[in-house]
């Protein structure tokens, strides 16, 4: 199969760098949530009054995590090598990274959701 005929996401390669995308997004969102709450509390004393920006940021974070999870999922499904994938070969390494990224994406997705819900619902600065 030529490179052109492969779908775009199949041309992307999971690496150790893409592996850390979902947890990094989670961490950034976490920081964002705290900063946002701190700034709104200092300015208005209440933080559920303008959650639009926060909601948008959360949706962006969830979308990024879902995308990297989906790409990783496609790569675990690359045709060719039958399981188990536990050897030191390139293809096994790729599948291992892809699977790990997928699991991390799931965790990060839930993490972002659990951080965002209280921020949106509670709105109390104490």
């Amino acid at each position: 199969m030529s490179d052109k005929r492969r779908k775009w996401h199949e041309r992307l390669q999971v690496t150790l760098w893409t592996l850390i995308v979902p947890p990094t997004v989670w961490a950034v969102h976490f920081l964002f949530a705290y900063l946002w709450a701190a700034v709104s509390c200092a300015k208005t004393g209440f933080f559920a009054e303008f959650p639009t920006l926060f909601t948008a940021g959360t949706v962006l974070a969830l979308a990024t995590i879902s995308l990297s999870g989906w790409i990783a999922h496609r790569q675990t499904r690359l045709r060719g090598d039958p399981p188990p994938h536990e050897r030191g070969t390139d293809i096994d390494r790729l599948r291992f990274l892809a699977k790990s990224t997928l699991l991390l994406a799931g965790l990060s997705f839930v993490g972002v959701l659990f951080t965002a819900l209280p921020v949106v619902f509670i709105g109390d600065c104490r």
């Binding site: 839930v110 659990f114 209280p118 619902f121 109390d124």
Partner: protein, 332 residues
């Protein structure tokens, strides 16, 4: 026959159950917040029990399954669904369900504000309504049922914690900071609150009475409490007033229109109090006299000097005089 562990302790059960009361218990709520906390607790406990039983059943099935019936793949699928997906869904649902309960009740400046200051080892109380002088009291809190009330909580010496289990959760009282706790009582009655943060020798003796009243009765009580106490012309009155002045009690206590000291509890309406010494003794004249002569016998470390030099009849005269305040004013 061997008895089970629970059976061995059977004779102790009534004792434990006797510890439960509707007077001071998160299991017998009389306020909005405590009620929603209780239902959350019940749901969590029941849910936890169901899950624990479910796990036990799965374990029993797996342990008894004949050789070869269970495959690795099915096991892994079980771990994925019951170990990851199910808890996530349950936790998310619980979070969404309990979030509204975590929101503080809305309150406005027009709502009754009650400022409570924790002090070793008693409570200074001030009822504040918009645009009016505060009504001062101590060691007792009255609340109108069905109305939003805002507690403003602080402390003057060390950290205390304000907890009326039947009404709402705990809230710290921190020197130099005012914490707000918004509550709504739902059932009239007599309840009890405590200090829930270790604060010194008599921490365990630092409690208070809570009286939830029908709104009309509360308004009337507050209106009467605003009337400055008037001296009555009786021998008891004059003797009490004389002793109070002679012993210098007024440098710490306000009482019945005496020049008001602010170091100790306000005694202006002591006569209507349900307890003595911040929720620890019945406020009989005898107990009051004994407390005045030796407060540390009842409350080690209390910030009131002992008056052992007072004769018993003098202490009793003071007690009777104090007991007349409030109760008598209310009758006018």
């Amino acid at each position: 026959m061997r008895r089970s562990v629970a059976g061995k302790f059977l004779p102790l059960w009534p004792l434990m159950l006797a510890g439960c009361n509707r007077h001071q218990s998160a299991l017998a709520p009389f306020g909005l917040e405590a009620r929603s906390t209780l239902s959350l607790t019940v749901v969590l406990a029941a849910g936890g029990l169901v899950i624990a039983l479910g796990v036990a059943v799965i374990y029993a099935i797996a342990a008894r399954a004949p050789e070869g019936r269970l495959t690795h793949e099915r096991g892994m699928r079980l771990v994925l669904w019951l170990g990851a997906v199910f808890p996530t869904v349950v936790l998310t649902a619980l979070l969404i369900w309990s979030l509204p309960a975590m929101r503080p009740l809305p309150a406005t400046g027009q709502d009754l504000h009650i400022r409570v200051e924790g002090e070793q080892f008693w409570w200074r109380v001030a009822y504040r309504e918009a645009g009016r002088d505060p009504v001062l009291s101590a060691n007792e809190i009255r609340l109108p049922v069905g109305r939003t009330v805002v507690f403003e909580l602080t402390a003057t010496d060390v950290v205390h914690s304000f907890w009326i289990p039947g009404l709402a959760g705990k809230m710290d009282m921190i020197p130099g900071r005012t914490n707000r706790l918004v509550v709504k009582a739902e059932k009239p009655g007599r309840y009890r609150g405590v200090c829930a943060e270790f604060c010194g020798l008599s921490h365990a003796l630092m409690a208070f009475d809570v009286i939830a009243m029908e709104p009309a009765a509360f308004d009337e009580w507050l209106a009467v409490a605003r009337i400055p106490p008037r001296p009555t012309d009786s021998a008891i009155y004059h003797r009490g007033e004389m002793l109070f002045a002679r012993e210098g009690c007024g440098s710490c206590h306000a009482a019945r229109g005496t020049p008001s000291g602010e170091i100790g509890p306000d005694l202006t309406r002591y006569g209507e109090r349900l307890t003595l010494g911040a929720g620890i003794l019945a406020p009989t004249p005898g107990n009051t006299a004994a407390f005045i002569r030796d407060p540390h016998r009842f409350k080690p470390g209390a910030r009131m000097p002992a008056y052992r030099h007072l004769r018993q009849d003098e202490a009793l005269a003071l007690a009777v005089w104090l007991k007349q305040s409030g109760a008598q004013e209310a009758k006018r």
